[in-house]
């Protein structure tokens, strides 16, 4: 009998869902943060492809309720079902990835990434 080669059960990883709030979108357009954001998204995607269980990425315009005139574009990479130590190590790798990609940006975009975009990790789970 002829051996057939059908589709194999290969795990396909789809890109992490990135949710950008309206306020964040306005900030990105107004302050031309597209290149800085592209570097952050690509860095997150690198980690996801390497197996980090990233559930979703939320991009928000963040205003500090106690500090006048302070706003940042906050990027939160949410993971689920991981230990604090693992999530912390993913954050370190993400930081290194962003640093490497930042070096490829022009001077102006590097400045924007350094002063306007704050990237972090958070952990969620079932229940409380």
């Amino acid at each position: 009998m002829r051996k057939t080669t059908g589709p194999r059960n290969v795990l396909v990883r789809t890109p992490a869902a990135v949710k950008v709030t309206e306020g964040a979108q306005s900030m990105i357009s107004l302050l031309t943060l597209e290149n800085a954001m592209a570097a952050v998204k690509a860095s997150v995607e690198d980690l996801r492809r390497k197996g980090a269980p990233i559930k979703e990425v939320i991009v928000e315009r963040e205003i500090d309720p106690e500090i006048a005139n302070r706003q940042v574009l906050a990027v939160t990479v949410w993971m689920q079902g991981v230990t604090p130590g693992y999530a912390s190590s993913v954050w370190k790798r993400l930081h290194e990835n962003i640093k490497a990609r930042k070096a490829l940006l022009g001077r102006e975009d590097q400045g924007k990434l350094r002063t306007l975009v704050s990237v972090g990790v958070d952990v969620d789970g079932d229940g409380i």
């Binding site: 309720p65 604090p84 350094r114 704050s118 229940g127």
Partner: protein, 130 residues
């Protein structure tokens, strides 16, 4: 003369708040959620005060006593793009949400434990700065 308060006690308090959660914590338990939120708040202030005192002792920071000191400390640690500054900034952002935002999403025990770990690591790493 009274001894100066050690801000890492806030981080210890954050840990004990999480240990006080009910055996099967649920998002509907108001008290459990309040404990997680309070724990994150104490984690932030523990790490922030350790950073402030360390930077003052190194001679690189003069506190003004104004809210802007919080962002100035992040800047002094290297800004968002640095590992220490970025982590402290995100811990403050989480603390802001836990104190001002009543949406219950994101205040799980897992999240509380994660931010406690971040605060413990920050306090250790910042204390060893020279």
């Amino acid at each position: 003369m009274a001894m100066e308060f050690d801000p890492t006690a806030f981080i210890d308090l954050a840990e004990s708040l999480l240990a006080e959660l009910s055996p099967l914590p649920t998002p509907t338990s108001k008290l459990d959620q309040a404990r997680v939120r309070a724990s994150i708040g104490r984690s932030y202030y523990g790490a922030y005060l350790v950073a402030r005192e360390k930077l003052v002792s190194l001679g690189g920071f003069v506190p003004t006593g104004r809210p802007e000191d919080h962002s100035r400390i992040v800047e002094s640690l290297g800004g968002f793009g640095s590992e220490l500054g970025g982590r402290l900034d995100r811990l403050r952002a989480k603390r802001n949400k836990d104190d001002y935002n009543l949406n219950s999403a994101g205040f799980t025990l897992q999240s509380g434990r994660f931010w406690l770990t971040i605060a413990q690591d920050l306090a250790k790493d910042i204390s060893s700065l020279k």
